[in-house]
Symmetry: C2
């Protein structure tokens, strides 16, 4: 049997990103935080950043800050996320709303641009809000929802998509990293397959952004959304982002026509004339206060590089799988994530009938994974804030709680 | 000629709310902030509130805070706004999204509930985002937008509404306080007139909430929205609120079907089943961080009472009108707000062809009103943070800049 603790210590000693862990707020009483893929931890610098913002930008510049700084913040921040994490050239990414609202706006824009096609295709295990929005859009546009079946561990494959898309498909909606299994979809190949049918492709990047680089431009992606409170540490309910490839600007129209997406925001004109570029996808007043926390995390990612973050994500999840094999498999725990790190995002999911109870015990003891109904535990490992020893201790705590 | 300064000093000396001004962050270099109706000032207590939130709720309780506190925050905070400011019983108000997104959701819910009616009625001078959303909803539902003409100073009257609503009207959308003139609409009488036609009434309370009490339940209002970054001092882009009268719960359905508006959020069920009550009007993850700043202001309003806030609002705007008569009318400045405080909200608007230039001069000098295209200056007077002397100094600065 491997000495797992020695292995974890060795990995931490070699970890080029180890020092970044000090950038996060201490959590007294929490020995292992394994839910950075639900809610990333706050940075130590954040209270000072917010206090300075309150004193200066908001408190002293007051309304003048809209002209001086805030009007462009949604696109400036979007561009930064695009450059650091998404492989997206400037002018195609915007921070706004929630993931759900952006999913609605982009799905509506997409299907309204394919009026002669009847189907929206979505994976049957996709995150509920993706499915619910698609269900609503299909119903209101008189369209049909077509379900893609995928292996619950391996996730959706190109062949799964090719089997269902055709000349009736208006839009395909998939998650890049499956929220349950962590399975990583082949973005380039699937986007190509969808385009071959003439449909548009919308990627949900909630479990990708900040932990695994994507190449939206290089893949020819049409549309993407993602959230900023997981691996971008934007805080609970921080705003989401939308990517709309420049070739669709001025063509795709979203339905929530607001003043901040109009061509001339302060003209107070009598009819809505959409902004030319990505700004059209904004509706209401940008949530400025909610866009501050993620900026410190983007600074960290810029220093670390997203490729190094991804490398550490692999060693973290590999260690968890190794520890699972040795410590949990013998107890009847199932591995619900791919074994190959190259086919996996930033979390590892395991299953056991007792996990609802186990999670309660762990949470009370300061070991905090995520419980997924009905019997899954997700071990989410945010590379910049999580050590290998912390990840290992989570697995061992699960073992002890089961014992 | 009145000694205006003596008058202002006297009003400040008698002002029972004067001490609350100390609750707000200092703005060095700003001698008069007259744009609290665009962006309320931050409270001094806010940096500590946020630091405690970051250290404890977010940083230490981490994901556990969703169960412990955050899931109910949208309705808890909505109930508080409803009780303190709106005359709304619990369970009918929710904080979420932006005003624009909530306008879209409520307008869609309303017109979809009146499928045999063809018209949406809106005042032609309503705020652009209200008009743009209505225009979009009308277009996508194959409906007709009917414009109400209203006197630009006196604002919309009951007779204006009676002249246009009929058996074809599905929905009427009006602002309670006009964003330009500050004119106050008669909520009770207009709601009755709209109901007499069988239509639903949606009130925009952006320029009302926190400065003038409304009686939504007593007026039999159907729907309302409002923002929290003006007189509720929630910070730039803080989330909005929606009110849906309980008699419409389970009947009206909004189109942005998200996981947080589902009956069982974590069931991850296969089809969307809406929550029974006001929660259905939530779509995505609640913007928790954006809901913190307004809580301090609600504490202040609770101490002061909304009726006392309204009384001070009247003495502030009365003083501005008096100073206008004496100092600005002789210079050819027009009064664009009602003279009677009972017919006016919390701001006074004046007009002059040079006001675009005047505003630049004032802003550079630390006197900060709001410019409204093409030639208006709005003097927005947030009662808890504004003194009578400050309001007066704004009028005198306009005079000096014109001279």
């Amino acid at each position: 049997m491997t000495d797992l603790l020695a292995e974890a210590r060795k990995l931490d000693a070699r970890d080029p990103l180890a020092a970044h862990r000090d950038a996060f707020v201490d959590a007294p009483g929490v020995s292992a935080y394994l839910d950075g893929n639900s809610l990333g931890r706050p940075l130590r610098e954040l209270p000072d950043r917010l206090a300075a913002f309150i004193r200066e930008d908001w408190g002293t510049r007051l309304i003048r800050s809209w002209d001086e700084e805030w009007m462009d913040l949604p696109t400036r921040l979007g561009d930064r996320i695009g450059a650091l994490c998404l492989g997206a050239a400037a002018g195609q990414t915007v921070v706004a709303d929630s993931t759900t609202v952006l999913l609605y706006k982009l799905m509506r824009a997409a299907v309204d641009a394919r009026p002669n096609r009847s189907d929206i295709v979505i994976e049957e295990g996709n995150f509920p809000t993706d499915r619910f929005v698609a269900e609503g859009v299909a119903a209101e546009r008189g369209m049909t929802l077509r379900w893609v079946a995928a292996d619950p561990v391996a996730g959706v494959q190109v062949a799964d998509i090719e089997a269902v898309v055709n000349e009736n498909t208006a839009l395909v909606v998939l998650s890049h990293v499956d929220y349950r299994s962590g399975a990583l979809a082949d973005m380039a190949a699937i986007t190509d397959a969808v385009h071959a049918s003439g449909a548009l492709m919308l990627w949900d990047l909630c479990h990708s952004v900040g932990v695994i680089p994507t190449e939206l431009d290089a893949c020819g992606a049409d549309l993407a959304v993602g959230c900023t409170y997981k691996y971008l540490n934007g805080g609970p309910g921080s705003p989401a982002f939308a990517y709309v490839n420049a070739r669709h600007h001025g063509v795709l129209r979203q339905p929530v026509q607001g003043w901040m997406g109009a061509g001339d925001v302060f003209a107070m004109s009598s009819a809505y004339a959409p902004a030319d570029g990505i700004r059209h996808f904004i509706s209401g007043t940008p949530p400025v206060l909610g866009m501050l926390a993620m900026q410190g995390m983007l600074d960290l990612i810029e220093q670390a590089t997203i490729d190094a973050v991804r490398e550490k994500s692999k060693t973290l999840t590999d260690l968890v799988v190794q520890a699972y094999d040795e410590e949990l498999a013998p107890l009847g725990v199932r591995l619900l994530s791919p074994r190959d790190a190259a086919a996996r995002g930033g979390h590892v999911t395991i299953g056991h009938p007792d996990f609802a109870e186990v999670t309660k015990t762990l949470w009370a003891d300061g070991v905090i994974p995520d419980f997924r109904f009905p019997d899954g535990i997700r071990l989410g490992l945010s590379p910049l804030s999580t050590s290998h020893q912390e990840a290992l201790s989570g697995v061992l705590a699960v073992r002890d709680a089961l014992g």
